[in-house]
């Protein structure tokens, strides 16, 4: 252990190698049901060269590395070591915004850059980044995009990987490359910029696509030390409308219509439990809101930027209102308990401290997967049935439906808030999480991001993909040091 420490100190310096018991404890667990495992050290590299040396050294010593970029709390078990004697590679200190280019609408950032930090820098240039639903203030943008957290706007998701474009990655074998367009040029960003190349195209760089080796990988293939991101123009007009319904299925045709013609700049469906949690700051307010809000709400954002914004927004407002009317629905700027403005601000803004889903009961467990919009009601009905069987209060069950990739699929997310101090309730939720995860898979739910127990569920269903993934793991991480134990069958 001491010799390992000496090596780590030699790479990142003594102040960046931490073995304080409390710190190690904090990295040994998260807010999920993942089994805690204390790491040996936490190291905080300051640049990509140190990351590369860390990986090379870890190969020599066969030391498992767990990359972490966001600040705590964590919720998916992916940052909790699965094997003993691991070293946490905390990249949160690498938080430089390397470049912002208005002309190309591109930004290049390090792993520790947060949404607020990035959005502030982009706003100065008249730009913004498509966000996932209300990220934590200390959430790493790089992790968020690399793990394919769904964006609120599916309309501009031409590629599944949007807004992520190129990256610098050190694979588990210790080699470092640029992916995408950047991989075709000299391995130096400044030189590429001087040549007019701004890391725009994500595929490649050649006949294979190495970005896809590290995306959704939970750090099990390598460590990404910068990514380039495609930015949007900052809206000069930004509104959100709310469409209430008694059942989720009543909103399907409406949402299909909106997404199909590519109107709106944000679009999702929530049940009242989820929407109340998003909007409220206390348990009491959540309870009050749940009593006021309609059972289901589709939120639709409309924006205009530099190109006749008033006319664009006005046209889409009227057209989308017509779509709603065609479906027998109301298109409203506010509902009892919520205004469109509030929903918009909460959706795109960050939350400080705890996760917004923790407000209701102190803890929560999510179940999310990919399906198509027309199948969501099957999963929702099944989930409510399972909740009833388990004795879980269905009025607390949150549901969030996010269209993605231009509406060809949706991210369907169930949230189970619970009181972590109530052992019985926590046990019940853990059991429900396990049973429901299996059930959703059996109904055709696809765990594209297979965290925790979902890895076992999903990979068992697809032996050939698992075999190829194992082959790839052997190529890019031959010593099996990168987040060892993740994405494997147990």
């Amino acid at each position: 252990m001491e010799s390992l420490k000496k090596k780590l100190v030699g790479i990142v310096g003594a102040r960046n190698v931490i073995d304080n018991r409390d710190v190690l404890d904090s990295y040994s667990k998260d807010e999920s049901f993942a089994t805690p495992m204390k790491p040996w050290f936490v190291v905080k590299p300051e640049n990509a060269a140190q990351v590369k040396e860390l990986v090379k050294s870890a190969r020599e010593t066969e030391t498992p590395l767990v990359p972490v970029s966001s600040g705590a709390p964590h919720f998916k078990g992916d940052t909790v070591p699965s094997v003993p004697q691991s070293v946490i590679v905390d990249l949160s200190g690498m938080n430089k915004i390397i470049s912002v280019n208005r002309q190309q609408r591109m930004a290049v950032i390090e792993p520790g850059v947060t949404y607020d930090q990035l959005q502030e820098a982009l706003a100065k240039e008249g730009m913004t980044l498509a966000v996932s639903l209300r990220p934590r203030a200390n959430k790493s943008v790089l992790t968020s995009v690399l793990e394919m957290e769904p964006r609120l706007n599916c309309i501009h998701q031409f590629n599944y990987t949007e807004p992520l474009r190129c990256s610098e990655v050190t694979f588990g074998d210790g080699n470092q490359i640029y992916t995408g367009e950047a991989g075709n040029g000299p391995k130096d960003l400044q030189t590429q910029w001087d040549l007019g190349k701004w890391q725009v195209m994500s595929n490649g760089p050649n006949m294979m696509d190495f970005l896809r080796m590290v995306m959704q990988a939970q750090g099990s293939m390598g460590i990404v030390t910068w990514v380039s991101l495609k930015c949007e123009l900052l809206p000069s007009i930004h509104k959100m409308y709310l469409v209430p319904a008694k059942k989720s299925v009543d909103l399907e045709d409406f949402l299909y219509k909106v997404v199909r013609v590519r109107f709106s700049d944000k679009q999702f469906i929530m049940n009242k439990a989820c929407l109340a949690s998003l909007l409220a700051d206390s348990k009491e307010d959540i309870a009050k809101l749940k009593s006021e809000l309609p059972a289901w709400v589709s939120a639709v954002g409309i924006s205009g930027d530099i190109l006749l914004p008033e006319m664009k927004v006005s046209a889409q407002e009227q057209d989308i209102a017509d779509f709603a009317q065609d479906c027998g629905l109301q298109f409203l700027s506010s509902l009892p308990g919520a205004t469109g403005e509030e929903v918009l601000a909460r959706s795109i803004g960050t939350c400080e401290g705890k996760h917004w889903k923790q407000t209701a009961k102190g803890a929560f467990q999510d179940i999310f997967f990919i399906t198509t919009l027309d199948k969501t009601s099957v999963f929702i009905n099944a989930m409510y049935e399972l909740a009833i069987e388990a004795g879980y209060p269905t009025e607390d069950l949150g549901v969030y439906i996010q269209p993605q990739h231009m509406g060809t699929s949706v991210h369907l997310e169930f949230s189970l808030p619970y009181d972590p101090e109530n052992t019985k309730e926590a046990k019940m939720v853990k059991a429900l999480y396990t049973v429901a995860s299996e059930k959703m898979s059996s109904l055709g739910g696809y765990y594209a991001r297979p965290y925790d127990i979902w890895a076992n569920i999903q990979l068992k269903k697809d032996a050939q993909s698992y075999k190829v993934l194992q082959d790839l793991k052997g190529i890019f991480d031959p010593s099996n040091i990168m987040n060892t134990g993740k994405l494997t069958l147990k």
Partner: protein
């Protein structure tokens, strides 16, 4: 060298005797001159090797069994669908050619905007089926008779509509793939039987080994089925045309408009393109669709759109001062199609175009507003069904330069490139004089904008050795231009490192020599390692660029 009887019989047992042939007359037709367009090899006088047999599989299972036989006996194979490109043809003597024409099914999920298609489902047919349910498919620049599966899984796949519909790799939702070792890989949600809606994951995406910026051009086995994302089509359910061949025209109603937008200089041209990259206004956008350069395009549009006129009318038309005026007005131009999803949307898009023109000093080209010319351009841009015109002039076609990437960089060099091409048109006889500045390409090669690529159309005679050699010399000079401005390989040389000029595959030693010098050579070493994992017998030619990792020790 004929196939051993037991091998031939094994193949025949899989597909039946009607779907296999070793007849020399049949096999000869499966050879390609590597100078044909889309091959982007550059002019050549050689032919690809003669296949030992041609096999027409009818299902994924048959493909898998064929590949297993190939592995058992060490026989190379390559699959082709529409055979537009030399990359579809084999690269060695001990090889069989798979012709995928029997696999052509199309299933459309209208609600979720996707089509599941087999290799020989061509873009024009998919489009016709999609339009019936209010959807459309992205047709790459090669045209509507190309395989959508091939452009999605096998090669580049961008086209005039990419700004709205994305390039086909962006549209790829899932793929069923017979790997070179005979295993079947189904990407994303398909692998677990959950459907075709997501082609990524679980976890890291295995589709990453099946296509990058380009597909592997048949070097990673056989893609047998894909799901491609479809896009809204607010037009009629049938693509009705009028007019006489080849001047087909179409009128889709008031919510479609096709304009030729013109600008005083390249700077304002680029500013307008940036506006379109930053907005959701265009349905299609392309420069110089009619394959005639700056000095001729207005004149040729008067010939192409009038079935009574022919090329011999050009000298007379060139004397017409009115057409000359039109021609002068469209030097820095591109053609766009806007499609109104609703009446209000159409009004907004019309106003947005006017606003952009106002901001950039541009104008709508008057002649192209004439109904017949408008409708011709609209039909052409929407279906890309006139691509045979590429070959009419000289019999062969190539795209050279290919100034790809940042539009602000390309406009700095486009005049110099045009002058270089023009010099070859006027000082040599190897290529047709197509009117100077022949920079042609989509307004964006990526969904939503962000990159462009300009191919300079070049017409030559592939059966005239002097023309072939001269064109090749021109490409060498253009490659030097590309080197000078760091544009990478000339379009004609994109595939020069994957197949010998004589049509045969490269050896590993030859590839090692090439890619050890790459700026980031580990990329090619990883491609080597992945090939070793799924193609241990090296049965699919040398299109996959690989570098022996041993060559990088210590680097």
């Amino acid at each position: 060298m004929a196939l051993a009887r037991e091998v031939y019989q094994a193949f025949e047992d899989i597909v039946g005797n009607r779907n296999i042939s070793e007849d020399i007359g049949v096999c000869e037709t499966y050879r390609s001159i590597p100078s044909q367009t889309s091959a982007h090899y550059g002019p050549s006088k050689e032919w690809t090797p003669l296949p030992q047999a041609v096999i027409l599989p009818g299902s994924t299972e048959e493909v898998q069994n064929i590949v297993k036989i190939c592995n058992k006996y060490g026989i190379e194979f390559k699959a082709g669908s529409t055979f537009w490109a030399t990359m579809a043809y084999i690269g060695g003597d001990n090889a069989v050619q798979l012709d995928m024409r029997r696999m052509k099914s199309i299933e459309i999920d209208a609600k979720n905007m996707a089509a599941v298609v087999e290799p020989f489902a061509i873009a024009g047919t998919i489009q016709a089926e999609a339009m019936k349910v209010g959807l459309n498919v992205q047709i790459p620049g090669v045209g509507c008779s190309s395989s959508t599966l091939a452009s999605s899984s096998g090669w580049a796949g961008f086209g005039p509509a990419s700004i709205f519909m994305g390039a086909n790799p962006e549209n790829l939702l899932g793929a069923e793939w017979v790997l070179p070792n005979g295993e079947i890989l189904r990407t994303g949600s398909l692998g677990s039987g959950d459907g075709w809606f997501c082609g990524e994951g679980p976890g890291p995406s295995t589709r990453g080994i099946l296509r990058g910026i380009f597909g592997p051009a048949g070097s990673m086995g056989v893609c047998t089925k894909i799901a491609t994302r479809l896009h809204p089509w607010p037009g009629p359910k049938q693509f009705r045309t009028y007019g006489k061949a080849p001047a087909y025209k179409a009128d889709f109603g008031d919510n479609f408009k096709c304009y030729t937008l013109c600008y005083p200089d390249w700077e304002s041209w680029a500013r307008s393109v940036q506006y379109f990259h930053e907005s959701d206004v265009l349905y299609i956008g392309h420069r110089q669709f009619n394959m005639f350069g700056r000095n001729l395009k207005a004149f040729m549009l008067n010939i192409i759109t009038d079935p009574e006129k022919q090329l011999s009318d050009l000298p007379e038309l060139l004397k017409d001062p009115e057409i000359q005026k039109h021609n002068d007005n469209m030097k820095h131009d591109y053609q766009v199609v806007i499609a109104g999803m609703t009446k209000r949307d159409m009004e907004y898009k019309e106003k947005a175009i006017d606003y952009i023109l106002e901001q950039t000093g541009g104008w709508k080209h008057e002649m192209m507003l004439e109904k017949e010319k408008h409708d011709y351009a609209l039909a052409y841009m929407t279906r890309l069904g006139h691509k045979n015109l590429n070959y009419v002039m000289c019999g062969a076609y190539e795209g050279t330069f290919g100034l790809s990437g940042n539009v602000w960089k390309t406009i700095q060099v486009v005049e110099e490139a045009s002058a270089q091409k023009r010099k070859w048109e006027t000082e040599h006889t190897c290529i047709a004089a197509t009117g100077g500045d022949s920079a042609m390409g989509g307004v964006s090669s990526l969904g939503g904008g962000g990159a462009t690529g300009w191919e300079f159309f070049t017409n030559f005679d592939s059966y005239e050795l002097e023309s072939v050699q001269g064109t090749s010399d021109m490409v060498d000079e253009n490659q030097a231009f590309h080197n000078k401005y760091a544009f990478g390989p000339d379009f004609c040389r994109w595939n020069s490192d994957v197949r010998h000029v004589n049509g045969y595959s490269y050896t590993q030693e030859e590839h090692d020599e090439m890619f050890a010098k790459a700026p980031q050579p580990w990329i090619y070493a990883y491609q080597y390692k992945i090939r070793e994992a799924v193609n241990p017998n090296h049965l699919c030619g040398s299109y996959l660029r690989t570098l022996s990792p041993g060559k990088l020790e210590g680097k």
